[in-house]
Symmetry: C2
Subunit: 260 residues, 2 copies
Amino acid sequence: MSARRHKVDPSEQAFLAGYDASEFPHPSLAVDVVLLTVSEEALQVSLVQRVEHPCRECWALPGGFVDMKESLDAAAARVLAAKAGLEDVFVEQLYTFGAPERDPRTRVVSVAYYALVHPGRLAVAGSAEFLLGRLQVPWSGDTGGPVQVAGEDGEALRLAFDHAEVIGMAVKRIRGKLDYAPIGFQLLPPTFTLRDLQAIHEVILGRPLNKDSFRRRMLASGELRATGKRERTVGHRPAELYRYSVGGHPDPDRSVTRNG
Amino acid sequence: MSARRHKVDPSEQAFLAGYDASEFPHPSLAVDVVLLTVSEEALQVSLVQRVEHPCRECWALPGGFVDMKESLDAAAARVLAAKAGLEDVFVEQLYTFGAPERDPRTRVVSVAYYALVHPGRLAVAGSAEFLLGRLQVPWSGDTGGPVQVAGEDGEALRLAFDHAEVIGMAVKRIRGKLDYAPIGFQLLPPTFTLRDLQAIHEVILGRPLNKDSFRRRMLASGELRATGKRERTVGHRPAELYRYSVGGHPDPDRSVTRNG
DNA sequence: TTAATAGTGTCTCTGAGACACTATGTG
DNA sequence: CACATAGTGTCTCAGAGACACTATTAA
């Protein structure tokens, strides 16, 4: 807020009362979006290549400056629409990064967001200035810390600024939220099998999960609704297709725990 | 970050390359600190009274603008030192609030922090421009939403800007972290009894806890070290005094689960 | 038929709640 | 002594892991 240092100094009061945002320097404000997806059994992050100094040719998170009349959430949504053509995706604020030297040119404070999307919605393929990098998380659990991102041929990409930290923070956050928030569904198509969902969870957590316990927990959560349809698969018994159901109202004709 | 919109428009590249932060308006950047303590069996938040419009005479969170060469964490620490004379307290970034109309004068984006401290370290008593308000949380669990704050005579205080939302977010955060992060200790003196610690947890969560289970869980966590001393109390058997132990190394001479 | 995975039933183990019981201080 | 709270021991219950078993599809 402003005008908080009351009764300290009359001149400061006058200063704040006559405060004009353009009169003296303050930090620039940007948003950066960690757009994550799961494909090929790994977390993937979308990155764009910088064409200018500093960090020229490094890979950076899509981002942009916050407009004067735009909320932070709106800025993040705008970046997603402009960079990846995405609308109505799951987006949440992550953390705000404001170390003075994080951008060598000028002071830039960045409000980081993370977004989760099914790869089927990422129509754009990799190009010279855009790619989906494969995350390599060098820590387990919720330890946190920077991550590495590998390009298509497996080499580690040079990441711009503090973006390795930002992506690491996003991984830490979704690992922590996975158990109690419906975020795994965001990375899947509208209908999916329990095996698909478990694979998503295992990729995010970076460790295998017990199949029986996972099934029980998911079906007991009330967040899944059986569709009555089955996957079209190869070589084995097809599994029931489920749909994410916010409130968890089971179709009265169909039990959730047992397909009729 | 900056210069992210690559290959869009050569003029934009030129603009970004020659970017001067003072040349055109961007949002002001502030920090606000939710300084919480527990006393009189309730969560208390420290507030300062505004002396200017807008929201004149409303109560606001202590805050201040971020200096150009100062990290966000440093700004929060500076606000705590200036407002409450506190150093070396537990502080963590909470969330960044950036609705365009949250401050009616000009665009102010605020990075909120929360701090936890034992009331014994808050030496300053309430005054005309400073008070400790009692939180009234109108929701349970991690639902979230704005809270009310009552003054000394129990009346609801008028809170400035979106600060009711900010405080509510702080409560939601510490409720969620209480189970797996050592934050209850921050609200107690260096040594304390298990009953004291349970009372803190109950106040934060807003619900009673099972005594036996709480004791087992805390002693099993390895975060407590018995001091061998006992409280000086009135009218009943004194309890063992414990100390928070980061790594949880028990004194080899003393078992943690059993006092020798 | 075989291969492969879906899905069920059941046992065990662990942690939380409940509660009885003993221990140790004050008045 | 009575009284109040500290702290222990143990039973029960619910959820997770483990694993055997049956079910259902493709080839």
